[in-house]
Subunit: 210 residues, 2 copies
């Protein structure tokens, strides 16, 4: 990977972070990367292809970076702490914001849909494996669809990131509320087998209805 190609990848993330999907262009990317505008097309063909590459490479790098730390998590509360730290640090680096903007663009640009979905899937897989490990042996694993939960967590991260852009205090309150809610999961572990079975039936009935 040549220096220029890497600078363009970093520049793409920086440009989207600064100008959003609506304001990103070969010129804004080149300016952020400190290279000539024509090099975008020489190295990547089109702006979309560069965004695709940046999405793939950037997300893979961040997921790999957090993967080791997530592998050390031993409880749901620890996971919440790591999740908060992850959110804060990625927000500074702009990767959550980058993914959110790509996702917004992917809604109407089908060339962005596949790479954005694949990048998000990297996070989903990582979160799912952590949740599955933590909930192994827990009664909650029998009740919950862990794969669905991992997707919900990922989607909520995106939504909270965007919401924080127009109401930072509101986002903080929302995250604290989710912390409280997540602790509810832990109480299931404290239930006896009879109460647990009753809960399980309750959830099955409730979700089958809708």
């Amino acid at each position: 990977m040549s220096d220029t190609k890497q600078r363009l990848l970093d520049g793409a993330i920086a440009a989207i972070r600064e100008h959003g999907i609506a304001g990103v262009s070969a010129r804004t990317i080149a300016a952020a990367a400190g290279v000539n505008q024509a090099l975008v097309f020489y190295h990547y063909g089109t702006v979309d292809d560069l965004l695709t590459a940046a999405c793939q490479a950037g997300t893979a790098e961040r997921v790999a970076h957090w993967s080791t730390r997530l592998a050390e998590v031993r409880s749901l509360r620890e996971l919440l702490d790591v999740g908060r730290a992850l959110h804060e640090q990625e927000q500074e680096l702009g990767n959550v914001s980058f993914l959110a903007q790509m996702l917004a663009g992917a809604q109407s640009d089908e060339r962005l849909a596949a790479p954005t979905g694949a990048a998000l899937q990297l996070w989903v897989d990582e979160i799912e494996s952590v949740l599955r490990r933590l909930l192994a042996g827990s009664p909650f694993a029998e009740i919950a669809d862990v794969a669905g939960l991992a997707r919900a967590v990922s989607a909520a991260f995106i939504g909270l990131e965007l919401y924080g852009g127009v109401d930072r205090d509101g986002m903080e309150r929302a995250m604290s509320a989710l912390d409280q809610l997540a602790v509810l999961i832990e109480i299931v572990d404290d239930l006896g087998p009879i109460a647990r079975r009753a809960l399980q039936g309750k959830i099955t009935r409730a979700t089958r209805r809708s």
Copy 2:
């Protein structure tokens, strides 16, 4: 409100829905509205001002529409059902998608930030009032930050909408998982006073730490 002004408001929502915040313009809006492009500027001054007006009027109308139905909800499970119906219908009308795109644009266009935040707040207030009514007298109200929960729900709606654009099946699974999770709230009502107090202390300790 003249016919043309209303057509432009509807056209703005339709254009954002079709082309996203990155592809919306006076021309695409005028085409969707079936009017001349110059009328955008005659009636609203700038494209941003038109988007602002569409955001305000469109969201106020949809919130008012659902407000009556939400007022009839009597349980959390009913609320989940209404929430699903709301998501499906608004997805067809494009209002959730519109808000998501506005939110994405608001991250880097400060002129969109205030109106988008205000529009989202209309949903937050509505959800908060329903939650507060449903949880009145419930032990969960003593534990939870209802205002934070309402914000989390709103943000999650946005995130799920965007996620659904790149992985529809994944979004469905995520929503089902959230259904399961929401039922957990109901079990708190079944707890006796001692278990409830223990839970409350547990949540307080867990959230104070982070």
